[in-house]
Amino acid sequence: MRGFSINGRDGLCAAIFILLGVFFAMQSLGMELGTAFRMGPGYFPLVLAGFLILLGLIILVQATQYAAEPVGPIAWRGMFFILPAPIVFGLTVRGLGFVPAVFLTAMIAAFASSRMKPGIALLLVSGLTIFSVIVFSYALGLPFRRFGPWLD
């Protein structure tokens, strides 16, 4: 008898699929299911969710069979700077306007790399902002306010 062991990567993967499957299944059960003849809004998603849970279980079983190679490095710094960048754009584009929003977004993103130096970042981001304003705002005429009400 060998001991029970599970590889972390596939175990986590299975857990995600099963949990998502359970979530979709529970939500579907709260809707009208209907019959195969006249399917309600919950019918097809419930079938899919059941299938997803089943696939998750298969991955889980497989995860106990063999070990996986290590996950490798994780881009913590990247995630810390890259993921907020579009959110900042979303938070500022209406209030501050297009120009500051592009500048801030690119600036935040620039620091995701440990190789980026502040001077280069400033130069790059300024150039990018000017380019974006010319292309998107003037040339393509996208209907953004260049400077928003917060700056008035």
Binding site: R9, D10, L12, C13, I16, F17, L20, Q27, E32, T35, A36, F37, R38, M39, G40, P41, G42, F44, P45, L48, A49, F51, L52, L55, I58, I59, Q62, V71, G72, P73, I74, A75, R77, G78, M79, I82, L83, A85, P86, I87, F89, G90, L91, V93, R94, T105, A106, A109, A110, A112, S113, S114, R115, L124, L128, S132, F136, G141, L142, P143
Partner: protein
């Protein structure tokens, strides 16, 4: 002859100065992103999709198509010169192409790739022109059951192309289908899975999702271990292949074109599979297989012809049936919908100028690539020296602007961050994003056709097996599934994908 009238219409549309300009812009942008690693055609098209809203439908589709095959072209340039395939479809080219470059035959390798691609592009453009109309008339006879089965084939084939575990890829398809159902159910108006968020009642934004799982997640993956790319490029000289080279590349190009055209038509198939298949075939039929991997010109000519042919013919299911064969085609369908065109068999009859214009522009675009790019290789190579940390803030800013301009809805930007995170986690867990995206696009269509088929058959599920076309399609799907699940093939498939 209808064919010639149609092609004449197509060329007169595609050759208007305005459309030539967009075709040119498209292939240049495509080559650029193909050369630059870390940003692929899918993310670029997703990024530019909103901007094309301002253009004429035909111009925007011509440009987006140009990005797609331009990227393949640029990808092979870097594969040959620095052993780094810019696009996954040119992974195979790197094997022998880079060896040729090391032997001082970089120019010949590049020329071979260009000649192979152009020949394949020309032939497959005609194939699209010949096969699209009859397929369209078959497609017009398709009922709900046939559409459902066809989409099942597409989804299953996308699994065959994913790296790693088949089960995980299948799970990604199912998850994609479920995510596609988020929003208001069109038949009953019931909100589904929206968790009380009002912005979700129209469903998740496709562009935001594509940018997140392809663009943002890809940036994160590149940031894991940043290394300076030491690009040592000698001046590329001697572009012209010798008579002996021509003799050796002719047959592989022909075989690659045939193989690529056939595989490209399959939903879920396309350029990547075609290039791998061609390499395997060439190695098998070669009289001197030991030279493969050591700079065999056949190993460049065949796969390059195949991936270009596959890229062209993968437009067939999209143009005739409105079914995307790969994520890029899914985005093209998105572009059509933004423009108010309903993708499907009616496009050819209702919008002949658009339909034939796109087909003709592919040939023109290929011509531009060969004429403009061979002399410009030096410039593209210089671009490789741009460090990655300069690129991704630009990519991210353009992504944000692009996504916001679709609906001017800030919620879409939060979705980008969310899907970026999800995409990165899934990549870390060895789950491929392509099947997810395909599932997402097809989810609502699949459900709609399933429901309709069941209502027409009065709840009798056997309708999918008793209608001949539908039954054939399902048999194909089953066959593909069985094949990829066979242990021996599965192992082989993993071996092939390990190489890229």
């Amino acid at each position: 002859m209808d064919l010639f009238n149609n092609l004449a219409l197509g060329f007169s549309t595609a050759a208007s100065p305005w459309n030539l300009l967009f075709c040119f812009t498209g292939v240049m942008l495509g080559t650029l992103i193909g050369v630059l690693p870390g940003i692929g055609a899918t993310a670029t098209i997703a990024m530019l999709l909103p901007i094309t809203f301002q253009l004429e439908p035909v111009s925007s589709l011509i440009m987006l198509a140009g990005i797609y095959y331009g990227a393949q072209y640029g990808g092979s340039t870097t594969a040959i010169l620095i052993n780094m395939p810019g696009e996954s479809s040119s992974a195979v080219t790197a094997i022998d192409g880079y060896q040729m470059a090391r032997q001082g035959r970089a120019g010949v390798a590049l020329a071979t790739a260009a000649i192979g691609s152009f020949f394949a592009g020309t032939v497959s453009t005609f194939l699209v022109a010949i096969f699209a109309p009859p397929l369209t008339s078959i497609a017009l006879k398709f009922g709900a059951a046939e559409y459902f089965s066809l989409m099942v084939v597409g989804l299953i084939s996308s699994i065959a192309l994913a790296h790693g575990s088949v089960i995980k890829a299948l799970a990604m398809v199912v998850l994609g289908l479920l995510l596609g159902l988020v929003g208001t159910d069109i038949n009953t108006g019931t909100p589904r899975f929206i968790l009380g968020i009002r912005d979700l009642s129209d469903g998740l934004n496709f562009v935001a999702m594509a940018v997140g799982v392809f663009g943002v997640a890809e940036i994160l993956r590149n940031l894991e271990n940043e290394q300076t790319r030491s690009v040592m490029i000698k001046k590329v000289t001697g572009l012209l292949p010798t008579r002996e080279d021509f003799r050796r590349m002719a047959a592989p190009i022909l075989r690659g074109t045939a193989l690529g055209s056939a595989l490209g038509i399959l939903p879920g198939g396309g350029a990547i599979l075609a290039s791998f298949a061609s390499y395997t075939v060439e190695k098998r039929v070669s009289k001197h297989p030991q030279t493969f991997g050591k700079g065999a010109i056949e190993g460049v000519a065949g796969p390059e012809a195949a991936n270009n042919a596959g890229a062209q013919t993968s437009f067939i299911p999209m143009l005739t049936l409105g079914i995307p064969a790969n994520p890029v085609m899914a985005l093209m369908i998105g572009a059509m919908i933004i423009q108010g065109i309903v993708p499907g068999p009616n496009v050819a009859t209702e919008q002949p100028a658009l339909f034939w214009g796109i087909i003709a522009s592919m040939w023109i675009g290929n011509l531009m690539l060969i004429v403009l790019n061979l002399p410009m290789i030096g410039l593209w190579v210089k671009l490789l020296t741009i460090p990655y940390y300069v690129l991704f803030p630009i990519i991210l800013a353009f992504c944000s602007i692009g996504v916001y301009s679709v609906n001017s809805n800030v919620f879409d930007l939060y979705s980008v961050a969310f899907f970026g995170l999800i995409g990165y986690v899934l990549v870390k867990l060895h789950c491929e994003p392509a099947p997810l995206l395909l599932g997402f696009v097809l989810g609502p269509l699949l459900e709609e056709n399933l429901r309709r088929a069941m209502i027409i058959s009065r709840g009798d599920a056997t309708v999918f097996f008793t209608r001949p076309i539908s039954a054939t399609l399902l048999a194909i799907a089953l066959a593909v599934l069985v094949i990829v699940l066979l242990p021996s093939i599965n192992r082989k498939r993993e071996e092939i994908f390990v190489e890229d």
